[in-house]
């Protein structure tokens, strides 16, 4: 009907226009990264080589895995500072179990179980006991780090089991296993976020917890699950790290949490919850890794690396900002 059409908010032409715009907004980050990658390949010696690119991916494998679950966590308007400690603890525990029992299965099981428990504890504290997420996970961060030191007596725990060590080292189609695991995480969590009730409810409780609760979403349970999964994936990252460095080190991955959260935010995940794109997170992770990689390739002085990292971080978000300019005021 005429009336309805005229009245409707947007004409078809305007709609296509908006779609295109939306597309640009959605894919500007990947596009930007492709351009960056091309430029670096052309200008930075050794950058565009299989070994370097594989090395780059390997260097962000751990961050990437955990960023997938951190994305869910941030999307639900939460926060997790305990991931760095969990990596260390899972690695140490796995190494100890391995050395005592010689069983890879038991070692991996113990590590993952520890991650699940830590995550669930975070979740219960935050969802049911309503402790502020920053404080709760800061507390578990301290406690878990303490445990890692205590069980290992502060010493690195050596690993001599070849089957376990091989995991971090071996390659399939030229790609190291840790990179493949990380890629799998992106696929799995991308699907989880976009194609499952779990993912949509996560966004819903981050976007408007009250609305989600009123629609019958079991907000508390969901939050515990998110943290639990985060714990398990983080523990897995810790075990893989232990395998790569052939030991469980209690002081590994300090400051890791900030790297992961930054990668997510760089990828457009909102700290205020309700917004997340797996693609963005991937790009965020890659940007972080690329910056580090290129600076080392170019022999940038350690002190200037700080400066550069800051500048590039800013440049990335400012560019990202441009496209949303004028959208709101």
């Amino acid at each position: 009907m005429n009336v309805a059409q005229m009245n409707s908010a947007t004409t078809p032409a305007a709609q296509t226009n908006q779609r295109q715009r939306q597309w640009l907004v959605d894919y500007s980050m990947p596009l930007g990264y492709v351009v960056l990658f091309a430029v670096l390949s052309a200008t930075v010696e050794n950058f565009f080589s299989l070994t370097n690119v594989v090395g780059l991916m390997l260097s962000v494998a751990q961050i990437g895995m955990v960023a997938c679950t951190m994305m869910l966590c941030l999307a639900s308007r939460d926060f997790d500072l305990s991931v760095g400690s969990t990596i260390a603890f899972a690695g140490v525990l796995g190494a100890m179990v391995l050395e005592h029992t010689g069983s890879v299965l038991l070692a991996v099981g113990a590590g993952l179980a520890a991650g699940a428990i830590i995550g669930a504890a975070n979740g219960v504290l935050i969802a049911y006991l309503r402790v502020n997420a920053l404080i709760a996970t800061l507390a578990t961060m301290l406690m878990v780090r303490g445990l890692a030191f205590i069980v290992s007596k502060g010493q690195a725990v050596g690993i001599s089991n070849d089957a376990f060590i091989d995991f971090g080292d071996s390659r399939i189609f030229g790609l190291p296993l840790p990179v493949l695991v990380c890629a799998a995480c992106f696929v799995v969590f991308g699907i989880l976020l976009n194609q499952t009730i779990f993912g949509r409810n996560t966004l819903a409780i981050g976007g408007n917890p009250e609305a989600a609760r009123l629609a019958g979403v079991q907000v508390e349970r969901l939050r515990v699950w998110i943290f639990l999964i985060q714990g398990v994936v983080t523990a897995m990252a810790g075990l893989i790290l232990a395998s790569r460095i052939t030991s469980g080190q209690p002081n590994a991955a300090q400051g890791f949490e900030l790297d992961v959260i930054s990668a997510c935010v760089l990828g457009g995940v909102s700290l205020l919850g309700g917004k997340a794109r797996i693609f963005g997170v991937l790009i965020g992770v890659l940007i972080m890794g690329t910056v580090e990689n290129v600076m080392n390739l170019l022999d940038v002085d350690a002190f200037y690396q700080y400066l550069m990292r800051g500048v590039i971080l800013l440049a990335a978000v400012l560019l990202d900002q441009l496209k949303t300019r004028g959208e709101r005021r």
């Binding site: 260097s59 007596k153 010493q155 690195a156 790569r244 460095i245 209690p250 590994a252 390739l297 350690a302």
Partner: protein, 304 residues
């Protein structure tokens, strides 16, 4: 007389090295019958707070490895203010203009000298393996934001240069943090950039750093026969590596004696407080290169 209580302050309580120092200091406390308070002091602020805290506990003195040697004046003042005796361990304290502080007795190592020992150990092994110096690339896993780290690695590189390594063969791999993974990532890139070398050697501020470089090399098929990595410290991380059934690129570690540092400084301070003896102004201890071949012996000599 009053019961003697002394503090033992270390800059990085989580580091195995300092855990060992503490352990031996405790041994001394038991042997001599004094009380020991151990506090980690990761930065200048915490250090001053810890000294004040010791004063509140009525300690008469403390042994310290400060988070930065330039904190010397602050340590001296805080000790004087609280009427405490102080001995420095590991790192020698200096004043605002960089001169060692004479009033604080010291027992420790010179970062540069230890580094030199690392370099010399590597040179000896290069010669033993009959490598051509021109074909050797040297990875310096760098963490220059930490002055001792810089001293150590520069000492090692200087020793390599003295043996004929040209500057162009030295490759800096700056690590973002001091853990093994950061060293791995940094070394990985260094290896990527310099595929031209046949052989590799690696140095770093500690065993963890060198371990990272060794693992990165392995990832590219550079195994024990074409890699010589020598770390510093000789604690568990090195032990794990040296006890592996097959040799790895981690050739050895320059071990320093936590026992001597921990035990002897505490006893010296105790004697000073109780008026038995004034400690010597400066004692430099030496490190020993520990390899697969000699590790049992070195450990015994170092008392560990």
């Amino acid at each position: 007389a009053d019961a003697v209580k002394i503090g033992f302050l270390v800059k990085q309580a989580e580091e195995p090295w300092f855990q060992d120092e503490w352990r031996y200091a405790e041994q001394a406390a038991k042997d001599k019958g004094f009380a020991l308070v151990k506090i980690g002091v990761p930065n200048g602020e915490k250090m001053i707070a810890a000294i004040d805290n010791l004063a509140a506990q009525k300690a008469q003195g403390f042994v310290i490895c400060a988070p930065d040697v330039k904190l010397g004046t602050a340590v001296e003042r805080a000790a004087r203010r609280n009427n405490m005796k102080v001995i420095s361990v590991d790192d020698r304290l200096v004043d605002g203009s960089g001169k060692p502080i004479a009033s604080i007795p010291h027992m420790g190592i010179s970062g540069y000298a230890i580094g030199k020992q690392v370099g010399e150990g590597i040179v000896a092994e290069i010669k033993a393996r009959k490598w051509n110096m021109a074909e050797v690339g040297a990875i310096r896993v760098a963490y220059d934001q930490l002055p001792t780290a810089k001293e150590r690695t520069m000492g090692a590189i200087d020793a390599l240069k003295a043996a004929g390594l040209v500057a162009a063969n030295v490759i800096d791999a700056p690590q973002a943090k001091t853990d093994t993974e950061s060293a791995f990532n940094a070394a990985n890139i260094a290896l990527t950039k310099n595929a031209r070398f046949k052989y590799w050697v690696a140095v770093g501020l500690n065993d963890e750093a060198v371990l990272g470089a060794v693992r990165a090399a392995e990832g590219r098929g550079i195994k024990a026969d074409s890699m010589i990595g020598v770390g510093i410290g000789g604690a568990k991380a090195a032990e794990n590596e040296l006890n592996k059934p097959a040799a790895t690129g981690f050739f050895g570690s320059v071990m320093i004696s936590a026992k001597e540092h921990g035990y002897q400084t505490s006893v010296n301070l105790f004697n000073w407080i109780t008026g038995k003896a004034v400690p010597p102004a400066e004692v430099q201890t030496k490190g020993m290169l520990m390899t697969r071949a000699n590790q049992a012996e070195v450990r015994k000599q170092m008392g560990q």
